[in-house]
């Protein structure tokens, strides 16, 4: 069937902010869908408040609404735009859930809107646990024994019937949110309570637990004529026990037979048919490793993290083809874009192995439970391509950028007992534990018994361990014993030069030379979707030591290009580095292409747009390590490398690359060092006469303690860090001593500065671009929270209406002077503290910042385009002309994922903890703020019960006003004993006292109020001393915050947030929210 001509205008729902379980993959799939629609001349209206995404650029959609993806807002957009169709499958669970609700509320029929792709009924069949089970069984597909329940009591009965352990799954959620495995009734109660709170239909499923079975996934594409293919299958190495999002996944599957493969493939297609899938779906199976038993576990009737991975793993553009199918095309009518000739109705053949590994950021979260299970906890992922598992695995570990130089770079647990325990309770370090177990002499079979990892994978890991032993032994003797065979074998198994250097006791540079004298390579291979069987025209590459020749030549490939440039991407997403850097990378790529450059991207994150091979002239899906970047640089011999758009990962490579004489584009490595080295930078500010907080370079413990003694609280800041890693506010001498002892391990190479921590001051920052002379100030951004909350976790506004003209002028002046003295060529960001009329510099980063997409969209100036010119040595004078911003006010708020991080404390501090962000625009601050808050999943209660607990008299005084206002607006106030007394004393009548959780017997108790979900908002502001996270946590306060997070009750933990929120509430009660899109015309204006 050809294109359905009735489709003229489509509303596309995005997935909103980046959160655990719903991340950058939806920017990739949404962007592909928008591209597919645009090609057909169909108008698109996108609703997505994630300002940092590429899909929200007007280059892809005709109109972009930065609004919450909720029924209320989407209906408004529908009413304003009159689309004829809606696309739900490209915006993750958020879009799917919103679509289901739009249907239920009759909004789709009211406006006569067609759902493109899988029908709502199909979505319900896959999402509603009970319906899913019935649908599968009706098609003869087996599912685990299970029963859907709506209460804790019913759950107990079912669990007893099935027998413990049982797994609790929650309907209509993502990332296994709210689910878990219960080994007894106590655990069951807790998980079910949480699960019910999280399900939009208050339903959970109690299911037989098959944790030790293999977890196999298939990606199915199905068109309107019932043609169906499976693009790829994948195997989860940590089997069913661990959520696929947290699993180390290989593609294709490695340990199942032809019969198993094709049997499950057949079942996948049957299941997709039963649910009426049109487009794409992912299906998950449990397969017993010891028999032929299998179960279908779940279906995702939409593009997913797995489909993004499958797409990158095979080179098959799943999202793009799914969009074309949804528009009416059939698979045989579409071409495989890798060849341009062969059909898209085929199944890719791979001739490599892909390893996907998750990235965790547990270090950033206090009290978080690290054990992996059925609920996803990872914040990002990497994908490595190799010709053997060992090579891909070791690459992937380095790609994670967690300071581990391959599989064997771990801190040993030291004893068999500890290792055995670690194998039974897998955490983010499980593969290191497996390696240690093997090196301690444990057998492959024993490791398999404890971890349930298939022996095939464990044997491969043993191969790595054994080869390292040989390397170690021979390396000890003499370098002559390192022959070609050993070196080649070592490199084929994915060992890095730097690791080999460690084993040989020589520097990395020498190792590199030794390696090059012994073996050739690495060789560049093409990902072509058909294992070299047809000539492919992709530029999708990876490097491997297997083989003896390159699949490509290294000349200029396009006719229009004069020179070529390498751009380094940002690697895996993590707290502090997310989709915003992908936006920066892609906008830099496009800008450089405009300047007649052929652009080569190096990146390793399957969730990104920049790792789509048709987005740049050449894509290396490779490590962002010194070794690999040098390898590629030396083969490609480009004009230079751009390191300033890939966040701190790329930035940190600059000094190392400079040592090898690599041509770096943009600010010089020396000038970069003057900004990154905290001590040098502080000295520079002193020279320029620019104010900063009192500071000292830490050379020894004594001087640090002496300085701190007069200045507590102080903030300790190592150099070259992003998102506040290892940054601490320190209140006492004891804590400082502790910190200094631990700091060495954080980053030994870089110096540290301790400065006075200025409390209760305002924070602001500037996103700017300089060509060395001209300075383009994108915007001055004002933070709502006072200093001490990491800028990535802060609520921000443009314009900075809370800053006086004088202050703003001072900030501009400082920014310009810093730029010129550092000879900045490219993007940069300066952070400031504002106290009265005083402006102090905190730090300056000579790279693209997190907020640049926000500033660029708000102002209608693409900071990356200006940066590209600056980097290429051109003047940015043309960008300096002032023009009015596209919107009056923009507000950016953080997105947290505390819910998924079991145990994590939702308090804000100098360590960044948010996983994403949203921004909305409006006529005034509150207009934008209320929309942004709603976009971050914060349920704004328009009436109800507010519970207040505030630490210390000073803070109580500061919150009094806002609490009083809430009472005046009709909210019922309850509080802890002390806070309640304080409130009553200050004129608030009718405050209910709720007793501490720890004093369970005293009623009414907080825990009851929480359990019965009687609270609609919680104000929980601990005394500022508790902000210092090394201090003992006040147990009760923590438990309230945690419980609130788990039950989805909004919590405010910060005075400024509370004040703004209360003002916003009263604004909301009297005023109308506006909706207004970003359009290409608007940007051209």
């Amino acid at each position: 069937m050809p294109l359905d001509r009735a489709i003229k205008k489509v509303i596309v729902l995005g997935s909103g902010s980046i959160k655990i379980g719903e991340a950058g993959e939806f920017d990739y799939s949404g962007s592909q869908a928008l591209k597919a629609l645009r090609e057909e001349g169909i108008q698109t209206v996108l609703v997505n408040p994630n300002v940092a995404t590429i899909q929200t650029d007007p280059r892809l959609a005709d109109k972009v609404y930065f609004l919450p993806v909720t029924v209320e807002y989407v209906e408004q957009v529908i009413a304003a735009e009159h689309p004829d169709s809606i696309l739900l499958s490209f915006g993750g669970q958020t879009a799917l859930n919103c679509g289901v609700e739009l249907q239920k509320k009759g909004i789709l029929s009211k406006y006569n809107i067609r759902v493109l792709g899988t029908a709502i009924r199909g979505i319900e069949l896959t999402e509603d646990r009970d319906l899913f089970k019935k649908t599968m069984l009706a098609s003869g597909i087996l599912v685990p024994t299970s029963e859907a329940v709506y209460s804790v009591e019913a759950a107990r009965v079912v669990a007893k019937k099935i027998g413990y352990p049982v797994i609790i799954r929650v309907a209509f959620t993502l990332g296994g949110r709210g689910g878990g495995v219960a080994f007894n009734e106590y655990e069951l109660d807790n998980i079910v309570e949480k699960g019910l709170a999280n399900s939009i239909v208050h339903q959970v499923l109690i299911e037989e637990y098959v944790g030790s079975w293999k977890q196999i996934e298939y990606e199915v594409m199905r068109d309107n004529s019932d043609n169906a293919i499976t693009v790829c299958n994948m195997e989860n190495t940590l089997v069913m026990r661990v959520h696929t999002g947290d699993n180390t996944v290989v593609a294709p599957s490695q340990t199942i037979t032809n019969q198993e493969y094709h049997f499950l493939r057949q079942v996948s297609i049957k299941a997709a048919r039963a649910c009426g899938i049109i487009g794409e779906c992912n299906i998950q199976f449990a397969l017993d490793a010891k028999s032929e038993r299998y179960y279908a576990i779940e279906i995702n009737a939409r593009l997913s993290r797995s489909s993004a991975l499958a797409s990158k793993a095979t080179g098959y553009p799943i999202a793009y083809i799914a969009a074309k199918i949804i528009l009416g095309y059939d698979l045989p009518e579409l071409k495989n874009s890798a060849t341009g000739i062969t059909s898209a109705c085929f199944e890719p053949a791979l001739d490599y192995i892909v390893v996907k590994m998750p990235r965790f950021d547990f270090r950033k979260f206090e009290r978080v439970r690290r054990e992996l299970g059925s609920q996803m906890k990872s914040v990002g992922e990497v994908m490595a391509i190799g010709r053997c598992f060992e090579e891909a695995l070791q690459k992937a570990i380095r790609m994670l950028d967690i300071g581990r130089d391959g599989l064997l770079d771990y801190k040993p647990l030291g004893s068999i007992e500890l290792v055995e325990n670690a194998l039974v309770h897998p955490t983010d370090a499980i593969f290191f534990h497996v390696a240690e177990a093997l090196s301690l002499g444990m057998s492959v079979e024993d490791v398999n018994r404890l971890t349930w990892i298939d022996p095939w994978f464990i044997s491969k890991i043993k191969n790595i361990v054994d080869t390292d032993q040989i390397l170690k032994l021979r390396g000890k003797d003499s370098l002559d014993k390192i022959d070609r065979e050993l070196m080649l074998n070592t490199k084929k198994l994915g060992f890095s030069d730097s690791w080999i250097a460690k084993r040989l006791g020589i520097p990395e540079k020498e190792t590199r030379e030794l390696r090059k004298s012994l073996v050739e390579g690495p060789f560049v291979k093409i990902v072509d979707s058909l294992a070299a069987e047809w000539p492919a025209r992709t530029n999708y590459l990876y490097a491997s030591y297997d083989g003896r020749s390159n699949n490509v030549t290294f000349g200029l490939n396009s006719k229009n290009a004069e020179k070529k440039v390498i751009v380094l991407g940002a690697g895996c997403y993590r707290v502090g580095s997310s989709v915003e850097f992908d936006w920066c990378t892609m906008n830099m790529v496009w800008a450089l292409q405009k300047s007649s450059r052929e652009v080569i991207v190096i990146n390793c994150n399957p969730e990104t747009v920049s790792t789509d091979y048709d987005m740049s002239d050449r894509l290396y899906f490779e490590e962002l390590t010194l070794e690999r970047v040098l390898d590629i640089y030396q083969s490609e011999n480009p004009e230079g490398i751009v390191c300033c758009v890939g966040g701190q990962t790329a930035n940190n490579l600059i000094p190392k690359l400079a040592l090898y004489g690599v041509r770096l584009l943009g600010t010089s490595a020396g000038d970069l060092d003057r900004a990154e080295d905290r001590a040098k930078f502080s000295r520079l500010l002193d020279e320029l006469g620019i104010s900063q907080a009192k500071w000292i370079e830490v050379k020894d413990k004594e001087s640090a303690l002496e300085f701190a003694n007069d200045n507590y609280p102080v903030i300790a800041r190592p150099s070259y860090v992003l998102s506040g890693a290892a940054m601490r506010v320190i209140w006492t001498e004891r804590n400082l001593e502790q910190f200094l002892e631990n700091a060495a391990e954080v980053s030994p190479d870089y110096p540290m500065v301790i400065s006075k921590f200025i409390q209760r001051a305002k924070e602001a920052e500037v996103d700017a671009v300089s060509d060395g002379q001209n300075v383009l100030i994108g915007a001055i951004i004002e933070h709502i929270e006072k200093a001490g909350v990491h800028s990535g976790d802060a609520t921000m506004q443009i314009p900075a209406s809370g800053l006086s003209d004088e202050t703003q002028a001072k900030i501009r002046d400082y920014t310009e002077r810093i730029a010129r003295s550092l000879r900045i060529k490219g993007p940069f960001n300066v952070q400031y503290i504002v106290r009265g009329s005083e402006v102090l510099v905190i730090e300056c980063n000579l790279r693209a910042s997190r907020s640049m997409p926000f500033v660029s969209k708000m102002k209608g100036i693409n900071l990356m385009e200006a940066s590209a010119d600056a980097i290429l040595g051109k003047s940015i004078g043309q960008y300096l002309e002032r023009h009015p911003p596209l919107f009056k006010v923009g507000v950016k708020v953080p997105q947290f994922s505390f819910m998924q991080l079991e145990g994590a404390d939702p308090l804000l501090g100098v360590e960044m903890q948010s996983t994403g962000e949203v921004a909305c625009f409006g006529e005034n601050f509150f207009d934008a703020y209320c929309k942004a808050l709603g976009s971050s999943g914060f349920k704004i209660p328009l009436s109800g019960n507010v519970f207040v607990t505030v630490g210390g008299t000073e803070l109580k005084k500061r919150t009094l006003n806002s609490v009083r206002k809430l009472a005046e607006m009709g909210y019922k106030i309850s509080a802890t004993e002390h806070t309640g007394e304080f409130l009553s004393k200050h004129g608030l009548s009718d405050v209910t006292i709720l007793y501490k959780i720890t004093e369970k017997e005293r009623k009414p108790n907080i825990s009851d109020a929480l359990a019965e979900r009687k609270l609609d908002l919680i104000i929980n502001i601990p005394s500022s001393m508790a902000l210092e996270k090394f201090a003992d946590m006040e147990e009760d306060e923590y438990r309230i915050r945690r419980k609130a997070v788990e039950l989805g009750i909004p919590v405010l933990t910060n005075v400024e947030n509370l004040d703004v929120f209360v003002k916003g509430l009263s604004w909301l009660k009297t005023r109308e929210i506006t909706i207004s899109p970003l359009t290409a015309q608007r940007q051209d204006k």
């Binding site: 004529s225 019932d226 043609n227 169906a228 293919i229 294709p252 599957s253 490695q254 340990t255 199942i256 037979t257 032809n258 019969q259 493969y261 094709h262 493939r265 057949q266 297609i269 490793a289 010891k290 028999s291 059939d330 698979l331 045989p332 000739i341 062969t342 059909s343 109705c345 085929f346 199944e347 890719p348 053949a349 791979l350 001739d351 490599y352 192995i353 010709r387 053997c388 598992f389 492959v444 298939d454 022996p455 095939w456 044997s459 291979k525 058909l530 294992a531 070299a532 069987e533 047809w534 000539p535 297997d546 083989g547 003896r548 020749s549 699949n551």
Partner: protein
């Protein structure tokens, strides 16, 4: 990646060196030769390795699967089949892609390899059917819906299973049996199997096909069987430059417009222009290069497919071909 035991025992590969494009082979080991309740082999397409040699990037030394009985290389040793690993199979694939399939040798000395190649007869001149075909007739299954005479030019076990599971008593005959000789079993249908080599060399089977079709006997040709059917009706075949080998080949059913993923292994193809002189019409078409992948006779109950509807290795999407054939048999009988 999957299906090496099936591929290596596929008689169509007799006399060939098989190069696996997937670099990791042998991961799930090799099971014992076990037969199902109808005495048809599981996991293998014949009772022994049929390929002359195997080329792989890397063969697993620690296979893992509950059904695995031995390593792949142990199995090859037992059956005295040579293999070589550690090669850049991707480079070799690209070489074969541009130069086409060629004669090859596995050796540890280039000189001896060259000598062997000079002495070896050219593959295309060899008639392999005689070596892979059954020597005597064998029957499988029960007669629920009828009897099928299966002409074995190198039949795969899963073809037999696919017919038996549809209620037929299947009798396997040697490749050179005549139409008269099979009448003794009173077949209600004839299947011409897959097999190695150039179809033009299969004159006994070609004659049998012609007679069967003339006599309105339901005929199903699979792979080589399709080429035999085509030649018997006056069409021509030609050698493909690259050949179609793999489990991921899209074919369009021209009757329904449906496209499905098929398993293929053929080096020859039916020339579509030559069909004009016959009563055969295209049934399936390869979606990649638009070559013929299946034929229907305009007036007789004869159908054939160039791909493997039985999969193994590979998908079973087109297995409905067997259903259509069995309907044809029932139609003709009534």
């Amino acid at each position: 990646m999957v299906g090496y035991t099936e591929a290596m025992t596929d008689p169509s590969y007799a006399g060939q060196i098989l190069c696996f494009t997937y670099p990791l082979i042998g991961n799930y080991g090799v099971p014992n030769y076990i037969r199902d309740e109808n005495n048809i082999l599981l996991n293998f397409e014949s009772h022994k390795i049929q390929v002359r040699g195997v080329i792989a990037n890397s063969v697993s030394k620690k296979p893992s699967h509950f059904e695995s009985a031995k390593e792949l290389s142990t199995w090859m040793n037992e059956e005295q089949i040579s293999g070589i690993e550690g090669l850049d199979t991707r480079e070799l694939t690209m070489h074969l892609r541009t130069r086409g399939v060629m004669m090859g040798a596995i050796t540890d000395s280039v000189k001896r390899g060259k000598e062997a190649l000079e002495q070896a007869a050219d593959y295309s001149s060899l008639y392999f059917c005689s070596s892979v075909s059954t020597k005597e007739k064998i029957s499988y299954g029960k007669n629920v819906k009828g009897r099928i005479a299966l002409i074995d030019c190198g039949v795969k076990q899963n073809i037999i299973r696919s017919l038996v599971s549809r209620g037929f008593l299947v009798t396997i005959y040697p490749f050179d049996i005549s139409y008269q000789e099979i009448q003794e079993s009173k077949p209600s249908g004839i299947v011409l199997s897959n097999g190695p080599g150039d179809p033009k060399l299969c004159s006994p089977a070609i004659n049998l096909a012609r007679e069967a079709i003339d006599n309105c006997m339901p005929v199903l040709g699979i792979c080589l069987g399709t080429q035999i059917v085509a030649i018997s009706q006056g069409a021509e075949t030609f050698k493909l430059k690259y050949g179609h080998r793999g489990q991921n080949k899209p074919c369009i059913d021209l009757k329904t417009g449906r496209c499905m993923v098929t398993s293929q292994n053929h080096g020859f193809s039916v020339d579509s222009d030559s069909l004009k002189a016959t009563k055969l019409v295209p049934w399936f078409m390869n979606a990649d290069d638009h070559t013929i992948e299946g034929l229907l006779h305009e007036t007789k109950p004869c159908l054939s497919v160039q791909f493997h509807p039985e999969g193994s290795p590979g998908p079973l999407d087109p297995s409905y071909v067997f259903d259509i054939f069995s309907e044809k048999i029932l139609e003709v009988r009534s």
